[in-house]
Symmetry: C2
Subunit: 391 residues, 2 copies
């Protein structure tokens, strides 16, 4: 086990009707003026925005509203939010939505306390030393941004998708009411499931030894997600299935499942190029990339894949055929992805095989010539993985 720090100071308020606590939570932070930042019209149509405004008003907190956060959130809206916060003296940013609204809110919180261009933080030109506090009302369990240090933004100038991170970007609170996720289109709900599973795989696939405790926890959370997702796609209003998925999405990415080990974020890197290029849902991109990554890296540590197959996918172990067991695990993962309505190939996403060279060019520009730790991937490796993900 490696040395580590674990710090997850976000206060999670989980369960039915919890969105009505938002006013008192913001007030307890002594905030005077809140920017409510959300994505699509569903937040308005469902009445959630009104409930939040009512709760803030009851707690005598003023607010402004900025909608329009999209999947793969864009820099233009961030600039708009920062201008608004600076002009209006906003002292708290409240994200209502999923990873897009939250990541965008984090970028606004950063830029509002900075004289330069907020993109400096994503371009590694500036170091994060302060940010407005961010709170969250979660409506899409997927990205885990409600409890994470991370924010990923796509700059329209060149469609660059870049991330930054800091403990200062961990939301001070996150309200998670599973009922708010009932009306999410099932494709997005399933993509969210893949995103959170990927957050666990990126930690589980490690070369660090003696991390049994966290391995067990990763396996347990994966099993719970798989069972709950199968219920969710058939019964969208099953509270317990939604609750399991909501909480799993949070702990998949607040750090607890990655302590003491080297993580490997290659698949997220490979996918980011896809979703920046084709503007597909991040989770759907991961559904295409992860089985390909797993097949490509099988020889790196077949025993890890055997363990995953046996513990999570209930494959019966056969010590005489580790590759067969490991591949059966990956095959069951693919069947599961199909079962919950996810794409399985680049073509399913609308990408063409001949685009792969362009993806590699972008990758080289964004990440250089190699990345990863479970297996150090060269651009040649990356190309082979994209090809494995093609029909």
């Amino acid at each position: 086990m490696e040395n580590f720090q674990f710090y997850s100071p976000t206060k999670f308020i989980f369960g039915k009707d919890t969105q009505h606590q938002v006013g008192s939570l913001v007030q307890s932070r002594n905030a005077k003026k809140v920017l409510i930042h959300y994505g699509g019209g569903s937040v308005v149509k469902s009445g959630l925005l009104q409930q939040i405004q009512d709760s803030l008003s009851q707690s005598k907190v003023k607010y402004l509203v900025l909608g329009g956060a999209m999947p793969n959130p864009r820099s233009s809206l961030v600039y708009e939010g920062i201008d608004l916060c600076k002009k209006e003296g906003v002292d708290f940013v409240l994200a209502v939505g999923g990873g897009s609204a939250i990541d965008s809110a984090k970028a606004i919180a950063l830029g509002s306390m900075y004289d330069g261009d907020f993109w400096d933080f994503y371009d590694r030109k500036a170091k994060i030393t302060k940010a407005l506090p961010v709170g969250v009302v979660l409506t899409i369990p997927a990205a885990g941004s409600e409890g994470s240090t991370a924010s990923v933004i796509t700059h329209e100038n060149g469609m660059l998708k870049r991330g930054t991170g800091s403990d200062l970007l961990r939301p001070v609170f996150a309200i998670i009411n599973p009922e708010l996720t009932y009306t999410l289109p099932m494709y997005h709900a399933s993509a969210g499931v893949v995103d959170m599973m990927s957050h666990i795989f990126e930690r589980y696939l490690t070369k660090t030894t003696a991390v049994e405790l966290t391995d067990h926890m990763c396996e347990g959370v994966l099993k719970a997600i798989i069972d709950a997702a199968r219920v969710m796609v058939k019964h969208p209003s099953d509270y317990d299935a939604r609750a399991t998925i909501c909480w799993a999405g949070t702990i998949a990415h607040n750090g607890i499942l990655g302590v003491g080990r080297q993580e490997d974020w290659s698949t997220h890197i490979l996918e980011h190029e896809l979703s920046a290029f084709y503007d597909v849902s991040h989770g759907a991109g991961l559904a295409v990339m992860f089985p390909a990554f797993m097949k490509y890296t099988l020889h790196e540590d077949v025993n890890r894949y055997v363990r995953l197959a046996v513990q999570v996918w209930n494959v019966v172990n056969d010590p005489t055929d580790p590759y067969g067991v490991a591949l059966e695990g990956i095959a069951r993962f693919e069947r599961f992805l199909k079962e919950i309505g996810m794409p399985l190939t680049l073509q399913d996403l609308g990408a063409k095989k001949e685009d792969i060279d362009k993806l590699i060019e972008k990758l080289e520009h964004n990440k250089g010539t190699s990345f990863g730790s479970f297996k150090l991937l060269t651009l040649e490796d990356a190309k082979k993985i994209y090809l494995l993900a093609s029909k």
Copy 2:
């Protein structure tokens, strides 16, 4: 799943040599004068106290030292610490040790910001609204107090053992270096293992349904503890075994394994009377009480005990004989306790069967005539459990 809040703001710094970071951590909290509170002479003899003093000095932080915290920490030392803090203008309490030093430090932190008697908080006469910040350098993994809201103190006046809790009592940081636990007497190390396992059992044994995700996590952490404890008793300086136990002790009690469910702290209540009365190690008392509690409550939900037996103790399931499977799980738990050198009966602790009536009297005085949720226990039930724990 029930509604819940999860809030664990403690910064955990885990791994080799981490104790040398204490000065910069305290300094980053803007503390000027620290009370270092520890237990036995081992902290001095091992050189740890000197390392901590050096680290504080390097960070230009002043300090005072108060040793003497004992298992089942006493009120007299708390009063002494409070007087010292008030007189010397201490603004940060640093506990060095295990649950006793930490619980005692929390009580000092509470009392130093209160004009009345600190016992008011343990006697439910006053509400916690402020406390000095507490930091921890952990040397005994067991109580989980380094990440918990709780503090348990024994008042010498009547030997009352009482607990209190508040988010304000969660340590701001906890330094956990598994190497510092190598020299712990094995009996105490094993008692610590039982304490952390009990913290998980008290959460796992619930009547709340649809808590699969956390059930899986509880089972995973229990399995990791059992495997690591078996290594630890044979190889006291096995870093990975000690690291697993250290981290397990923390997450067993920071709340993550109890979200969304009703917990049942009956066994801790039954044990507190034992350790207040005989001054035995809390973990050793739990080793005696838990198998008895499990046998007594088997009929409350045999399926939960079957699951525990199968998932944690690797008992082969036999759907035709749930009681047999469940009892075999408890039998394996008892064999494990024996294997790691723990007592199994009240008599092993030095208690006599005829003392049980006195224990029941104390229990009635401290807790009233019933308690618990997995099974609501009357004093009659409690007596039967103490008898089950007797030879």
